[in-house]
Symmetry: C2
Subunit: 376 residues, 2 copies
């Protein structure tokens, strides 16, 4: 796995690049649809490949570890053989879910014990076994196991949390480097910069991670309640330090505007549940602004869902029909809006890439951000 930069934008820190993997090239900037349980909710893989043109998807270690479980995934020969997705896949480390979803969690130097949100069963995640778990899942890109402090953590907590996360990172790297992929294809480990909204902690974390010289680096713990300006400042500080020659992945972010601004700051990879989660509730993103399809104003609007959309759903269905489906809680409504939104996010990063290559990214970005904020 290696990264090549095609174009470095002159006005911003944006860049167009390619992350070369054994499962194919990933053209950055890229958005990774979230496939929590090994499925992007409501969308067939065929559609992800042919209609949406997703180049990489994300899975959640916490969820896959609980269901279907490691025994099934290992016997299948890894997640790709299990679900049939043959392009790259990245798994998070489970840290975020342990700290947001699991019950009775207890943190020690060793790791985190928690109870499953499904059946209450007790489990332990450590930096070492989370590496082993991701080896078994068979993700192409594995993430370090870190503590995820709350967005409003005070400085002392944030510092102690980073201390622990850095000790855990050393253990992750050690275990990762001592072990081999189980299924014959390459896996890489991305470390995660933490430090809440404290500049000095972010700098320290980024400096330590830069030294590790891994195939890519991630920025975590943002978009957890802080103002967008603070998030952008943290990204900016961190990206001064993280090596330019490696892809930078901003975890769990965000709105279309967030993504464009972060691209301008030098971020290359994104994931977010927003397109699918909001889609299931009837919120759709378009190049002219966002639509709440439940609103009465769409009741008799028989025009295509999104005349500028790239997915087949955009011309196959009308706004009025999709509104009816969402109002009546019909599965097809969630399917249509999810597929539209994922296709829109992928279109957005492809457009960003084109404009970086054409040398007019900043102008385009500023115009787009204005439009994206409109509520239609």
């Amino acid at each position: 796995m290696y990264y090549t930069i095609e174009t470095q934008d002159k006005e911003t820190n944006a860049r167009a690049g390619i992350l070369h993997t054994e499962r194919g090239d990933i053209h950055t900037p890229i958005f990774m649809p979230v496939g929590t349980l090994g499925t992007v909710k409501g969308i067939h893989f065929k559609e992800l490949r042919e209609d949406v043109n997703a180049e990489i998807i994300l899975g959640n270690t916490y969820h896959l570890y609980l269901r279907p479980g490691l025994e099934v995934l290992e016997e299948a020969g890894g997640v790709h053989k299990f679900n049939g997705w043959d392009r790259p896949m990245l798994t998070d480390s489970g840290g975020f879910q342990v700290f947001s979803l699991a019950e009775n969690r207890k943190l020690t130097e060793e790791g985190a014990t928690f109870r499953s949100h499904i059946d209450g069963s007790k489990h332990l995640f450590t930096p070492e076994n989370v590496m082993d778990i991701q080896r078994i899942i068979g993700a192409d890109i594995m993430m370090a196991f870190d503590e995820c402090p709350p967005g409003d953590a005070l400085y002392d907590y944030a510092k102690k949390s980073l201390d622990l996360t850095e000790r855990w990172l050393d253990r992750c790297v050690k275990r990762f480097d001592e072990t081999q992929p189980k299924y014959g294809y390459e896996q890489q480990l991305f470390p995660i910069v933490q430090g809440c909204t404290y500049k000095d902690l972010r700098i320290r974390s980024a400096e330590n991670i830069a030294k590790l010289d891994r195939a890519g680096n991630a920025i975590g713990g943002l978009a957890v309640g802080e103002p967008a300006e603070v998030m952008y400042e943290m990204i900016s500080v961190v990206n001064e330090i993280l090596p330019k020659s490696k892809p930078r992945y901003l975890m769990g972010v965000g709105t279309p505007e967030n993504i464009l601004e972060a691209i301008a700051l030098g971020v290359d990879m994104f994931d977010c549940v927003m397109p699918t989660r909001n889609g299931r509730n009837g919120m759709i993103f378009t190049s002219e602004g966002s639509i709440n399809i439940k609103n009465k104003k769409w009741e008799k609007d028989f025009s295509p869902l999104d005349p500028d959309g790239t997915s087949f759903v955009d011309s196959a269905y009308s706004k009025a029909y999709v509104r009816h489906l969402i109002k009546a809680n019909e599965m097809l409504g969630a399917q249509i809006c999810s597929q539209h939104n994922i296709a829109f996010y992928l279109w957005l990063v492809r457009e960003a890439r084109t404009h970086i290559n054409n040398g007019n990214f900043n102008l385009w970005k500023n115009e787009m951000v204005k439009k994206l904020g409109v509520r239609l």
Copy 2:
């Protein structure tokens, strides 16, 4: 709309035919996927057309009347323009839902008042306005409004119910013949034979309906709890009387075995929620028998969902993966099983048709019925 018979089977009453409509030919015997609210749950119309090859779908008047409502459907220019389905569509009359789903229903000579199961609002269905409603929905085939007595109705109730249904049928026919399609394409009305499990009532009903000489005829009020043998007997009695030159539609039936037996008795059209409803719960039908995908035995079965299946889902996904999806309540699981089952039902009636044309239907049918009963 007219019906031509291609082959009359020599050993049974099965026949292969074509119902010619302005929206294309329907090759009988045919299965009609149920699209309650103008959507076959979980399946894009593109898939219904290209993958499943559905030739006609069904909608429910009761549901479409409540949501999206007549104002929206009329302004759209009918259900086909509303949902984009360009092949034929049949709507039931709402009778069944009024008697099974609505609240506070009250039956009078005029019609049935009921409260919506969604918001409790009060409504009145009469033979006349149900014709008007189906004109507005724009179904290619409209059904008569009838009373649906419970499956275990005693003779006196069944007789009184049929009396009312026959008076209502006269009013349906009168209103239908006095009115015109709203959107410029042909609509036809199918009357429905009722009479519970009482032979004399079924005969009387069928004789009256035969005289009406409509474009097609339906058999209702079966598969509501009576033994399969009783159902087959009623079909047999009725089909002696209903004109051979018109398609016969058995409403709401049934299992794959039921469908094959009814084809042998001279039925041409079917609808049933079973493939989609059972699919959502992880039950899948195959040519070797049925599978409850939730069973532990499929947990590590990485073979294709159905090696003999005709849908893309059958080879794209493994049993173990689909089991995982259904167990974890993932939408994609319901989508896959629904699409598989609908494709299987369509395959089954196409195969029946081929065997009727080849002159070996009965032999094939008897072998298939044995296999279909197996629980894998």
